[in-house]
Amino acid sequence: MGRSKLINLISDYLGMALALAVLIIIFSLSTEHFFSIITFRTIANQIPAAIIIATGMTYILVIAGIDLSVGSVLGLCSAVLGVSLAHLQWPLWAGLAGALGVGLACGVFNGLVSVLWGLPSFIVTLGMLEIARGGAHWVTHSQTQYIGSAIEPVAATAVGGLSLPFLVAVVIVVVGQLVLVRTVFGRYLVAIGTNEEAVRLSGIDPRPIKLAAFALSGLLVAIAAIIDTARFQSANPNAGTGFELEAIAAVVIGGTSLMGGRGSVVSSFFGVLIIAVLNTGLASIGVRDETKRIITGLVIVAAVIVDQYRHRWPWKRGK
């Protein structure tokens, strides 16, 4: 790797890292216990699901799509896992397989419908948002399923005080980023998001690639669902409500374009971190809810404005 590439790499994440640092400093100064190992371990414990969902969402945004169903699908996968373990008394592996299968199926549905009929993914996944949430309630009869220790192995602590879910999330981010920038599949995703027609004219069928992106997003959501279910040791049919906008916010804060063709999984990771630190910090201060919301909104907008200054794309001057 050349020197200029290294500099590029650093500058890519410098803005995010700075924003993060500023937030941490502000919160550390304004509350007594924020700056501590416990806080960071708490955050590390809370974000794996968000990170994994954001990775899938990055792929979807890169192809100029959007996935509004992630929250509901998370709820549905969690519900399936919960019912199969708590109610049907399946073995753990079967429950996990069921959840993954359901997530994959939802992703494939999103992908197939939008690819086959050429529909905007916004509307297809909006439909799926309703369908999957309905499904989650239908499976659980709207009752939270308490699973207990049957699912404990999933949340087991691994090396260095970091939980298995966190490590899984980190691996997914690293692999996800490498796949995006270094593999044929990843380049096809970027190309489709930039100019789908040109991809088609190059003799490459964009449809299976888009389908794969949605399927992958579904699968990642299922993994996130498993992690969250293990964390709460229970499956709530309402789990994941509102995750879709949160995930998109994180990804966009990370600098991924909603117009497609540009995105980075690592930046999305930073985006998730920023939101998590913000949430935790505001909770530590214990400000009133409405203040929290106002601050959150302002930070989302501010983060994107800051990011804008970092990479103004010269040939998109007009935008």
């Binding site: 270094r182 044929v184 930039t194 100019n195 991809v199 004219l201 040939w315």
Partner: protein, 507 residues
């Protein structure tokens, strides 16, 4: 492949295609191995459609094709390519966010288990870039940072990069200057020697005569004429194309002296492509801008028009001493400047919208009343007038621009600016992809505008056109203004020498 060259590579018989109207009817065509078969015809004659059918992009309504003696009916482009047929399209279809190397090898990126080998990719890309004269560019540069001419060369490089039996080039030279064209022709000769057959579509008839083994003319979707270049003449080809006598293809503009200074540019700088450019344009004259590809002509015009950020430089209008405040294109237009962009698809047209709406876009204000109610009848009338004036071939004024042929789209963009009355009009490659008849028409219109007292600036890669129709020619080289010639002072050699002056030796 038939090594003797006797048997035909591709034989097309009775090809038919209609959209709302008939586009191709009963077209018979054959290409031999190692033969360059040129296809010419007016805008909208059906050339690109024919090319698209052969390359698997368009489904024909009737007729059939034989490839190497076997029936050939491609289902899609991939199909055609695996049968050894490649197409370089008229419209740019590159993916801006990929690097040059990635674009060149997009459908066969070198990889192991899906993992791209970037070292090999970039290595492979260099000789290819060299072949089309872009050897200096870094293969890891993004495509979107290239000008139209360079992008066109990348498209050509993609076409040249694969082994194929039949290569179709659809107006490859529309945005190229002479050195690139020469280099392209060298490649064509090389491929011919290897037995590759070619269909070559172009509106530049001189170059067609240079490279083609046979020339066919399409008129209104019918193949009306096929000859060897030695058996025919330019005039005859044009007559067959347009069905009437045109006289000299490009009329020489009589010498005339310009009026007062309309536009004065001083010390313009914008990025690496524009370094300290100063010039002036006068009322009543046509000022040409020549230069090699990438010499910074487009960037100069964009910068003075406010489309790009200027780093330095002042612009004076109407002989005023006070620099005009032009920060955005709308500032420019309000002050009487107009710019026709070189990239019609991305920067000029509203593709899905009606031809009518495209033409009226820049002057909606003047055809509306009560502060913004569009008078559709007036709009319709204006659009129809320009469709007639420029002979835009379209089903109706309501046809979406995307359905027009490339040349007709270009005419729509020209019409958009012609019907808005600006004092200084800048045309960047106005005749890109326009047929001879229409070119003549466009230059006549520009001359009329100049005669009416407008200041006209034309950027073109076609030096002969510039020499025929301009009063003065400014030559750019490596981002600087190398020379300005008055009519009578210039010669092709002098202009080329000036254009090369900024680059040292090797170009």
């Amino acid at each position: 492949m038939d090594a003797s060259g006797q048997g035909k590579l591709l034989v097309v018989t009775g090809l038919e295609k209609s959209y709302s109207a008939k586009v191709l009817s009963e077209v018979d065509l054959s290409i031999g191995a190692g033969e360059v078969h040129a296809l010419v015809g007016e805008n909208g004659a059906g050339k690109s459609t024919l090319a698209g059918i052969v390359a698997g992009l368009v489904k024909p309504d009737g007729g059939h094709m034989n490839l190497n003696g076997r029936p050939y009916a491609p289902r899609n482009r991939r199909d055609a390519e695996s049968s050894g047929i490649r197409l370089v399209m008229q419209e740019l279809n590159l993916i801006g966010n990929l690097t040059l190397a990635e674009s060149l090898f997009f459908d066969r990126l070198p990889h192991r288990l899906g993992w791209i080998n970037y070292n090999r990719l970039n290595e492979q890309a260099r000789p290819l870039l060299d072949q089309v004269g872009l050897g200096e560019l870094d293969p890891t540069r993004l495509v979107s940072s290239l000008g139209v001419g360079q992008q066109q060369l990348i498209e050509i490089a993609v076409g040249l990069s694969r082994r194929c039996d039949l290569l179709i080039l659809d107006e490859p030279t529309a945005a190229l200057t002479d050195p690139e064209i020469d280099r392209l022709f060298a490649q064509i000769v090389r491929l011919k020697a290897n037995g590759v057959g070619m269909i070559y579509i172009s509106h530049r008839l001189e170059e067609v005569q240079r490279v083609a083994d046979r020339i066919s003319v399409l008129r209104d979707g019918q193949l009306v004429f096929t000859r060897r270049p030695s058996e025919t003449s330019l005039e005859e080809i044009v007559r067959w194309m347009v069905g009437r006598e045109l006289g000299s293809v490009v009329r020489q503009r009589p010498a005339r002296s310009g009026g007062a200074v309309a536009l004065r540019v001083r010390g313009l700088r914008a990025g690496p492509a524009v370094q300290d450019v100063s010039f002036e344009a006068r009322y009543g004259e046509i000022l040409g801008f020549a230069g090699l590809m990438g010499s910074g002509r487009t960037e100069t015009m964009r910068a003075l028009y406010g489309a790009d950020r200027r780093e330095a430089g002042q612009i004076f209008l109407r002989g005023s001493d006070v620099p005009a405040k032009i920060r955005t294109p709308s500032d420019a237009v309000r002050r009487g400047l107009a710019l026709l962009t070189e990239n019609r698809k991305e920067q000029g047209l509203l593709l899905p919208m009606a031809v009518r709406a495209n033409i009226s876009l820049s002057h909606l204000g003047s055809i509306s009343r009560w502060g913004g109610w569009v008078q559709t009848a007036v709009e319709q009338a204006v659009a129809l007038r320009w469709i007639q004036n420029l002979r835009i071939r379209c089903a109706s004024a309501e046809q979406p621009a995307v359905e027009l042929s490339g040349g007709n789209q270009q005419k729509v963009v020209i019409a958009k600016w012609l019907c808005r009355d600006c004092e200084v009009m800048i045309f960047d490659e106005p005749t890109r992809g326009i047929d001879v008849g229409a070119k003549f028409e466009v230059y006549r219109l520009l001359a009329d505008l100049a005669d009416k007292g407008k200041a006209i600036i034309i950027v073109s890669s076609d030096l002969k056109e510039l020499m025929a129709s301009c009063d003065r020619i400014a030559v750019m080289s490596a981002g600087r203004l190398a020379a300005v010639f008055d009519r009578g002072e210039w010669s092709q050699d002098a202009i080329m020498a000036a254009a090369l002056s900024g680059y040292g030796v090797n170009l």
